[in-house]
Symmetry: C2
Subunit: 399 residues, 2 copies
DNA sequence: ATAAATTCTTGACGAAGTTAATTTATCCGT
DNA sequence: ACGGATAAATTAACTTCGTCAAGAATTTAT
């Protein structure tokens, strides 16, 4: 009788999911330790861990360095085997596709770009299928196997209004799409289990499991760039919004009272995005410099060189972002906030002011919230998509 | 062998809790209907319901009017027996205690005020014990029994930083308290199981179970008055904030950018509370009217009579609140928002502007969020406390 | 009457996790 | 080197909770 292939991640019960996520996100941990952290009995951990070991997802490390010296059987920590399965993540922008292959810990193994010449659904699907095929053709560093043999899940991130549960793009302003059942289309043409998610939420998932959010029951991620957005994790769950809208920190009105509030394309007034988006900054810089052709890069260079009026433009943007963060933090009281942005280059110009305003505006102990500001490399978006794919192991059924 | 008294609410399993809350909050429902709404099997509902019926908490109504005409055994809906247990709720303000007795559905049966002459902990505890005794001495409308015989739980609401799990008042600005183990003190001296909660959160709990929040997976309540605060419910759970701070909509900076932002006592600038709190309104009204002795009531009267500058003061406050709501809704995307305030009288002056600004500022489908604006009677705060006591049936163990 | 529909009830079963005892592996003192 | 102490891991029996499937109850429709 032929030996059947080892099962895919055998997540068969809440306890199994708990144990697996704990080991996945908290690095090597002994069984007792998992039990302590999760509240499960150690017997339950033993039982839940075995199928994962048999299926190759977890392994027992040789007994570790003894941290607490003393008697007793040494722990044999459980560790993830990151190469047991690979995941494809693709971010769709208006201009191109960015795709990555990651391991179970969402660490990028390969990344590829692919320009988009049309926003036609069929065209995008074909391009995406091609990109996935290219990515899968690569081979894992252990040499023996290609990614194809161990990749079953695809995550796709796209900005706009996305229904993760049904895999439908409800509205994408950049692509001009409405109600496109993208996950279904991709599932048919790639054969991979496909999960669709809003891009900022995807990024947040990556952060929640494999970044700054590990161990925090609540945290928020804010992205700054062409648009300004955010997503929140509360009690380990992504906040969705009853009507699909949540985390729109870009449209928090921080200058909505006086006459000084700039109009925002959303119809509101004084939105963060109307002040601190890349576009808004460039517009202000041009006005201040009296040069209608000034580019962002030039403005950055001159501000760095000490041009005070231009420095003030960036400071104003930082202030607006800080105020938005203040609103966010006062309303939710997250444990940590990560601010990340496309313009890697410009961070030095913002950071100070963001921190100062934030500290001023955070109410009471909300100020104890940890604030991390850091650049956002290109592939990070695609990595977020891959992280969503990893998470899809846990709640795989489409509605 | 003596018959033992029927057990208190026999909440022994998740299913029991689910069934009981469903009947409690969704009115009479047939068992199958409970099953459909909760995802439980109908067998589980039958089993879970029985002990509640035996203990007198639920009853089977005579088969109801047939709503969907057709064949089949008629349903015998389950209904709550609201008088099976009474709850005491007390709100502590700086000046007085407001206490109520409610039934299981948090409907007020008796209300009593009690002035506070000192903020000394012992004094407040004694006053509260007296108030509770007075309340309990009353008798239920069914005549036979006094409240005392069927009241086991006390809820206490207080503004400030409160740890519900441990029953400790961490910080109360109005009373000048820090780290007072109030629940413990009251439990000892009243013999009632005591739950402590922040006042706005308590109000939100009442709304969640017995008001506008029924059936909404996420909603927010905003209170406007001396202070401006809010609390959020997400997925049926109150948002706590990692550091105990959450829902501070009063300190969302809606006028933080220009020079026009008024300084707030919190150290921030342009906070909603610095514009729209009762104090701030009075101050503006005095400035506008050129009368440093103008009272709120006079300002209201003159605004109602058509005094344009004074009307503008209220409109400005409404605008600030609307912007705060915009921030809340864009970030959180609740299904519904309730705005409520102490100054019953002044609502007509705000409402319009709040709605207008909200509609302008809500991003995309966040505008689909239902907005209810309504006055907040005095006893409502105490009712919130009682609702917390009702909820304590479900998660009773102190940490 | 008889059939069909729908609600409610019952008892057997199964899944998941706990408790408590047992085994395993190491350190430590003599 | 040996025995005991100590802690990790495992095992097996048991508990709890809820589902399933079958059937009883009670109505309408034919």
């Amino acid at each position: 009788m032929p030996r059947s292939a080892p099962a895919r991640a055998p997540i068969t019960s809440p306890a199994a999911a708990t144990v697996f996520t704990t080991v996945l996100t908290q690095g090597p941990v002994s069984r007792v330790d998992v039990a302590r952290r999760t509240g499960l009995s150690s017997a339950a951990v033993t039982k839940a861990a075995r199928p994962f070991i048999e299926a190759g997802y977890l392994e027992e490390l040789a007994s570790a360095e003894r941290t607490a010296p003393g008697a007793g059987r040494p722990a044999s920590p459980l560790a993830i085997r990151p190469d047991r399965e690979y995941f494809i993540g693709v971010k769709i922008t208006g201009d191109d596709l960015i795709g990555v292959v990651t391991d179970l810990q969402a660490r990028i193994r390969v990344a590829k770009h692919h320009p988009l010449t049309s926003h036609d659904v069929d065209h995008v699907v074909r391009a995406l299928v091609d990109l996935v095929a290219e990515l899968l053709a690569g081979s894992a560093p252990d040499g023996a196997t290609s990614f194809r043999d161990r990749a079953y899940c695809l995550g796709v991130a796209i900005s706009g209004d996305v229904d993760r549960d049904t895999g439908v793009v409800r509205y994408s302003p950049f692509l001009g799409w409405r109600d496109v059942p993208l996950a279904e289309l991709l599932e048919e043409s790639t054969g991979l289990a496909t999960t669709l998610e809003n891009d900022v939420k995807a990024l947040t998932v990556a952060e929640q499991w494999f970044g700054e959010g590990v161990g925090a029951s609540s945290f928020a991620l804010v992205t700054v760039g062409t648009g300004i957005g955010s997503a929140l994790v509360l009690d380990g769950r992504l906040v969705g919004g009853a009507h699909g809208v949540a985390g729109e920190i870009g449209h928090v009105p921080v200058a909505g009272m006086g006459a000084d509030g700039p109009a925002c394309h959303c119809g509101g007034t004084g939105c963060v995005e109307a002040i601190a988006s890349t576009e808004a900054i460039v517009a202000s810089a041009r006005r201040v410099a009296g040069d209608p052709a000034l580019t962002l890069d030039e403005a950055v260079a001159r501000a760095r060189a000490g041009d005070e009026p231009l420095r003030a433009v960036f400071a104003t943007a930082g202030h607006a972002i800080g105020l938005g963060l203040g609103a966010l933090v006062n309303l939710f009281g997250p444990e940590r906030v990560v601010v990340s942005g496309e313009g890697v280059a410009t961070y030095d110009l913002f950071e100070d002011q963001i921190r100062r305003t934030f500290a001023e505006q955070a109410f009471g102990s909300a100020a104890r919230c940890g604030l991390v500001i850091r650049p956002l490399p290109f592939e990070e978006w695609a990595r977020g998509a891959a992280a969503v794919a990893v998470q899809s192991l846990f709640v795989s059924d489409r509605l």
